[in-house]
Amino acid sequence: MLHVALANIKTYARRYIAVILAVAIGTAFLAATLAVNTSTRATLKNSLGDTYKNADLVAFQDWELAPDDPDFKYTELGLKQVQQIRELPQISTAYGTAFVSGELRTADDGYGVMLQPVSAEQNLGGMELLEGRAPLNSNEIILDDEHAQKMLVSVGDTVGLTGADSATRDVKVVGIQRTSTDPMLSGYALVGMQESAWEKSAGESAQFQNIVIDARDSVPAAQQALAAYLAEHRMIDVSVMTADEKVINDVAMLTDGTDQLTIVLLVFALVALVVTGLVVVNTFNVVIAQRTRELALLRTLGAKRQQIRSSVLIEALVIGVVASLLGVALAVALMAGLIQLVHVMVPSMSYATLALNTTGLVVPVVVGILMTVIAASLPARRAMKLAPLAALRPFDAASVKNRAGKLRIVFGILLTLAGGGLLAWGAIAGSLPIAFGGGLLSFPGILMLASLFVPASVFGIGKLVAGRSVAGKLAALNAVRNPGRTTATATALLIGVTLVSMIMVGGQTAKASLNNSIAGEYPVDLTVSLYERAVNEAKTQDLARELGSLDGIEETSTFLAGSVETKGGDNEGGFSLMGVDPQTFSKVVLDQNIVPEDGQIIRFNTGGEEQPKKLTVGGRELDVKVSSASLFQDLVTKDTLESLKTGDAADEYAGVLIKVAPDLSNSEITALVEQIADVANVESYMVSGGVVENAMFSQVIDVLLAIVSALLAVAVLIALIGVANTLSLSVLERTRENSLLRALGLKKKQLRAMLAQEAVLIGGVAALLGLVLGVVYGLLGAHATLSAIGEMSYEIPWLQLALVLVVSIVAALLASVTPGRRAAKLSPVQGLATE
C-alpha cells in the first residue's frame, strides 16, 4: 500500500499544504520553547563565565558544606587568605572578587559603584584594560567603560570616591576596563583599586565571594595544594571547583526561573499542539470522505481493511515527518534570527548564543510525527470500516449524520459536571488550585459535548443572519452539512478564543479588584511627602498651588505629619498622625467619611476591636472615630495637631495631597508622577498613592496579558489555518454543486460571498462561543484567585473581547478568499464536467 499512499500524497499535495503548515507551526512552537531554554542557559554560561574566563580554579565559601551547627563560624575569605594562597608554589596567581558598594562623585553627580581590588601582578582581578594602566597607588582607580561613558569620566579625570567606611577621598582615574558581561556584575559601575586601598575602603565588608586562581603548571596539582591548605586552616566550608564547574553551578542557581518559564511555555505549546491535532483530524476526515469511492473501489478490488488503514497512516506519517522537520527548521531559523537581532540591537549582549541540543531538536520532531499519526488514526479507522458497496453509492447524501459517540457524550457530561462543580467550589472557597483543577476537567468535557451545541448554534445564527438571501441560507446549510467537520473546525478555534478571553476577563477583573483594595488603603490619589525638608507651611502652600495648575491634577491640599505621645489604649508610646486642613482635604479625599473635625481623631486598622470613645494623645483628649478604611496614619485636623505636644521635631514633615483627573491612563499617570517629582524637586518614590500603585499593577498585568495573548495567538492562528483548510477542501467537494448554482444564475460575487459567509459563520460562532466560555472561566478564576484579597470588582473588557471577535471574523473572511476565488474561477461547464 506504500505506493498508493505516496501516489495519493503526490496527487493531493495541494490539499495537504494547510495541514503541513499547521503541524509545522505547532512543532515550531515546541521546538522554539526548548531552544529558548537551552539558549538561555548557554547565554548565561557565556556571560557568567566572563568572570572566570581565564581562570583555572575558583574557591568560595559554600553554605552546603557548612555543618548543621549554630555555633559554627563560617570561613571569611579576605585578602589575608588570598595572599596565603598566592604563596603556595603550585599557584601562579590568585585574586578575590567581592561585592563592596561605594559612591563615586563626579563634578555633576553621584553614582553607586562596586569596589573591587585589582593587582597588576594578579591578573588585574580578572579585568581587561581597554585604555590606560593599572592603579599603582591608593589614589588611583580604574573604571569600566560603559559606566565611564555614562558618567562622562575619562582617563586622567579626578573623582571623589566614598567607600564602605564612609570616608571620601579624591582619586584619579588611570585606566578603563571592559564592562563585564556577567549579569551579576554588569548592572553596576565597577571600580578597580589597589588591594590595600580596597581593604581600607571596604572596611568590615572586606571579604570575597570567590577567590579566582590560576595554576602554575598542572591544575590537579594546584587543586591538591589548595585542599591541603584548606585542611590545614580548617576551612571545611570552602569549596574549590574548576572554573567550568563553577559556571555550571552558578547557571543552575540562576536558571530556576528559566525552567519555570519553559514549563509555562510548554503549556502553551501543548495548547497549540492540541489545536493542531484537531486540524489534522479534520483534514484527514475530509480527505477520506472525498476519497470514499476510491477507497471503496480498492476494497472491491481486494484491499484488506488493514491495508486501507495503513495506507492512510503512511500518508499521515509522511506528512508528519515533512511538517515536523519544517517546523523545527522554522524554530531554529526564528531563534537564530532573534539572537542575531539582539546582537545588532544590543551590542553589549554579544554573548547571547543560540544553543541547541539533540533533545531539543528530536523531541519536537517526534512529538509532531506522533501527534499527526495519532490524530489521523481516527479518520483512518473510519476509512477502514468503509464497505466496498460505498463505491457504488448513487447519490452523495446531502448531509452526513455523524453520530457523536454515546460514550463520548456520557464522558463529556460527567467531566463537565464534575469540573463545573469543582470550579464553582474553588471560586466560592477562594481556592485557585481547586478552581484550576475544575477548569482542567470541565473544559475538555465541554469540548467533548461540542457536537451537541456547535452545529446547532452555527445553523441557528446562520439562518438568523441570512434573512431572505438565498446565498445566505445555502451558506448556513453548507456550514452544518457535515456536523462533525464543522464541530472539529470550530472547536479548534474555540479553544484558543476561550483561553484568550479567559485571561482578558481575569486580568481586567484582577485590575479592577486590586484597584478596589488599593483605593481602600490610600486616603487620596497622590501624596507628595517632603520627608527631607524642614516644615515650611508657606512654601508647602506655594508648591500645592503650583502642582494644582498641572494638567491632570484637579485639586490639591497640604498636610503636616508628626509623631505624638500617647498614654493608655493599645498603642502606648509615640505614634504618627497626619494633620490635614478639613476644608481643602474634603476636596481631595476619596472617602468623605474620613474628613476629621477639630478635636477628633480618625482611627484606622483597628482590627474590628472595640475602641475607647476617647483617646489621649499629646496631652489632649480627642474624640475617636473609627474608619474601616486601612490607611497608614491616623487623621486629625492641622489645628488639632498643632495643639498637641508632638514628639521629635525631626520626625515632622509636610506634604501635598493630590486628586488627579479620573480618566488618566497608566502611562499618563507615570508621566504625571515624574512631572510632580520634578516640580516638587523630590525623588519620584516620594510621590506615592493609590493611583501610582494601581498604574504599576495595571502595567504588570497588561504586560502579562499581552505576552499570554501573543502565545495563545499561535493556537488561534493554527485554528484559522484549519478553517481555511476545511473550507477549501469542502469547496473541492462541492465543485459540481457550485457550478450548478452558477448555471442557474448565481453570480461569481454571490458565490464568493456564500463561501465567505460560511467561513464567517463557523469562525464567528466559534469565537462567540469561546468568548462566552472565556468570560465564565475568567470571572470564576478571578474570583477564586482574588476574593481573599478583598472586595471583588467584576469587569469585562468588552472592547478587547469585541476585538477578538472581529479578528476571528476578519481572519475567517480572509480564510475564505482563496477557496472562494478558486471556486469562482471555474466556469460552470468545467465544474459540471468534473467527476
Binding site: F395, A398, L474, L740, L741, A743, L744, K747, S827, L832
Partner: protein, 249 residues
Amino acid sequence: MTSETLPLTEYAVSARGLTKSYGHDSTRVEALRTVDVAFARSRFTAIMGPSGSGKSTLMHCLAGLDTADAGEIIIGGRDLMTLNDDELTMMRREQIGFVFQSFNLVPTINAKDNILLPLSLAGKSHDREWFNTVIDALGLRDRLSHKPHELSGGQQQRVAVARALLTRPEVVFGDEPTGNLDSRTGAEVLSLMRTSTREMGQTIIMVTHDPAAASYADTVLLMKDGSIVGQLENPTVATVTEALASLAE
C-alpha cells in the same frame, strides 16, 4: 444567411459564425466550425450526432455556460458574446432554463426550494398559479418537501424540468436529460417537455443520443465534426435512425 433574411424575432435562439476549439497545436480540436443555426420559438428541437461531434459544446455556448471563440449568439434580442459574466449570469437566471443529465439539484435543499432557486436568486416571488400548473403537470405535488436524495432519478429530472419551466424562460436547454432514466420514466419526462412546447409555448433545445427521445421533438438537427450537417422535421424513430446511420458513413 444574413440578418435581413433571418428576422431574429422569429427565433428564440440564433447563432452565427460560432467557432470554438480546444487545446492548441497538435492537440487542437475544433469542436465548432463556424456554426450558423436558429431555433424557432415554441418548438422542441433535438440535436443529434456521433459522440464528439460538438453537441454539448454547441449547447453550452448557446446557453451562456461557456464562451465561444468567435461568432454571435442572440437570445431575447441580446448578443451573449458581448455580455460580461454578471450579465450572462442574469441572462441564465431569467431567460434560460436547464435540465442536465445528472446532478441537477442542490442536495441541501428540498424539491420545492430547488424549483424556486432561480427565482429566489433573482429575489423574485413566483407566480402561484403557474407554479401549481407546472407542479401538477409534472406530478410533483407530494414530493415538494423531499430532499433530492429522497427522490428517484426520474423524480429528480422532473424537478429539474419544473425548475426550468417555472421562470418561463426564452429557452430551455437539456443535455441528455433522459440519459440516466429507464425508457418508461424517460418517456414520461419527454412527453412533459413536448406538452410544455405545445401547451405553454416553451422553446426547448435538447441534446440526445436516443432516436426514441428525438422522436418527441418537432425538429432534429444533425451534427458531425463540429458542423450542422442536416435537419429532420417531424422525426420518427425510423427516420432518425436512418439519418444517423447515413451520418456514420
